[in-house]
Amino acid sequence: MIDTGATAFVLICTAMVMLMTPGVGLFYGGLVRRKNLISMIALSFIAFALVSIQWVVCGYSLSFGTDLQGLVGGLEYAFLQGIGVDGDGIPDLLFVVFQMVFAGLTLAIVTSGVAERIKISSFLVFGLLWTTLVYDPLAHWAWGGGWAAQLGALDFAGGTVVHISSGFSALALALVIGKRLGFGGHGMEPNNIPLALLGGALLWFGWFGFNAGSALAADGLAANAFIVTNISAAAGALAWLCAAWVRGRPGSIGMISGAIAGLVAITPAAGFVDPMAAIVIGAGAGLFCYGALVFRVQKGLDESLDAWAIHGMGGIFGALATGVFAVAAIGGVSGMIDGNPVQFLIQVVDVGVVVAYSFGVTYAIARVVDAVLGLRVTEEEEYVGLDIAQHGESVRV
């Protein structure tokens, strides 16, 4: 039975989440040097286009097909066989496309780790392997009836599936591809901070669709997800701003990074925690991710645009916080404070496995693609910049 209200709502949320992918592109594009601006935005679109096709060919089925040993879905929905306009609440086709925009966004976030040095041809091959071997199983574990769902792990809108996976995958990829030429020595200041802020604005806006839409109905749960999303983003922005202020200037990039950290952390919790917990989660994530970023810089790791610090570590923070702050009155599950410490342990197990799986498998895929095709452009191409070297285009007239 189709619920027209829910269907209308999820249709709109799907479009909002789609806008997050170019949002990531603009955010990352503003942070790189000008010679790689087009490349960075284009990578997000390419990621989205690639995953869109993979999703309808096999990705959806691997994620939401009949459970095989709790690990992956079967292939009965390959090429969307048997998926029609009917469904439970919303049309099955709408659920397919709603989940598709999440998968596309996730690969776009991963491009952080290879910014300013990836060969497009290799990225296409890597991306196809990554979304098939990393994203699809993770989506199945959490939402398709896999082991994490059977265990009772909570992930409302993708804290593990989208954020921990993309963050730790970006880290693995950055370790395989190596640092950018001149990293640590030459200045690599953002070329266009307003553009990065615009990207951040699109992410914040789209995140309402991301979290509220994950209720899959236009109801009170969606409203709760919506408001805790905004609260957490706001708390994260202020927390990071203050932390940066203590050490120097309250930069706008730090502020928007804090907002994204708050959005990431509330993602798994949005349907389980109340608005006051969201303040704690958002502020905590802002400080936690700021610390992760400082750690990353101190270690000299060139995970260039901090998907690991913000999405990876923010995702861990959010997943664990869900186990602490969940209240039965919101999502029907209690966390540690509500008298159910076991939930926290379940979250710890889920986080540990997702971190290990996404880092390990991504590392292996990256090594294979690097050995066969070479992930990286030549030194000369990197020097000239990927806009010209890879696209034959330039923001200079």
């Binding site: 010679k35 000369e380 191409e381 000239v384 010209i388 034959g392 200079r396």
Partner: protein, 131 residues
């Protein structure tokens, strides 16, 4: 601007004629920060800087794709213009060379030009050593 008090003689109009040169350096953008810091450490503060595009004898860079050659004719550079006393020219050139060099083609050029007159905009005086 202690440089402006360098050796000088009286000009026909009564103003002082100073012996100064313009040092114009076109260097790699990524080396600019270290060049600027090194100049500053040696007391050279005044400069005019611009982002420019340019090429040298190699006519830019040729990138190769699957056998096809794609020329990149103009490469981004930073141009630094400094007016320094004759006595400081060698030092400035040495600092730019030491801090702007990678050893590969494309490190840039330094041009030294004579400076005829220096006029301050803030006052009508021709000689900037006299405020």
């Amino acid at each position: 601007m202690s440089d402006w008090t360098s050796p000088s003689t009286a000009s026909p109009c009564g103003c002082e004629v100073i012996r100064m040169k313009m040092v114009c350096a076109v260097i790699r953008p990524e080396m600019f920060d270290s060049v600027k810091a090194a100049l500053e450490a040696d007391g050279i503060y005044g400069m005019t800087v611009g982002e420019v595009m340019g090429r040298g004898a190699q006519r830019g860079i040729a990138l190769k794709f699957r056998g096809k050659v794609m020329p990149v004719e103009l490469i981004p550079k930073v141009k630094i213009e400094m007016v320094v006393s004759d006595a400081d020219v060698e030092k400035v050139i040495g600092i730019i060379r030491a801090n702007g060099r990678t050893g590969k083609p494309g490190d840039g050029r330094i041009f030294v030009l004579p400076v005829e007159t220096i006029c301050r905009v803030r006052t009508d005086l021709e000689d900037p050593t006299d405020p």
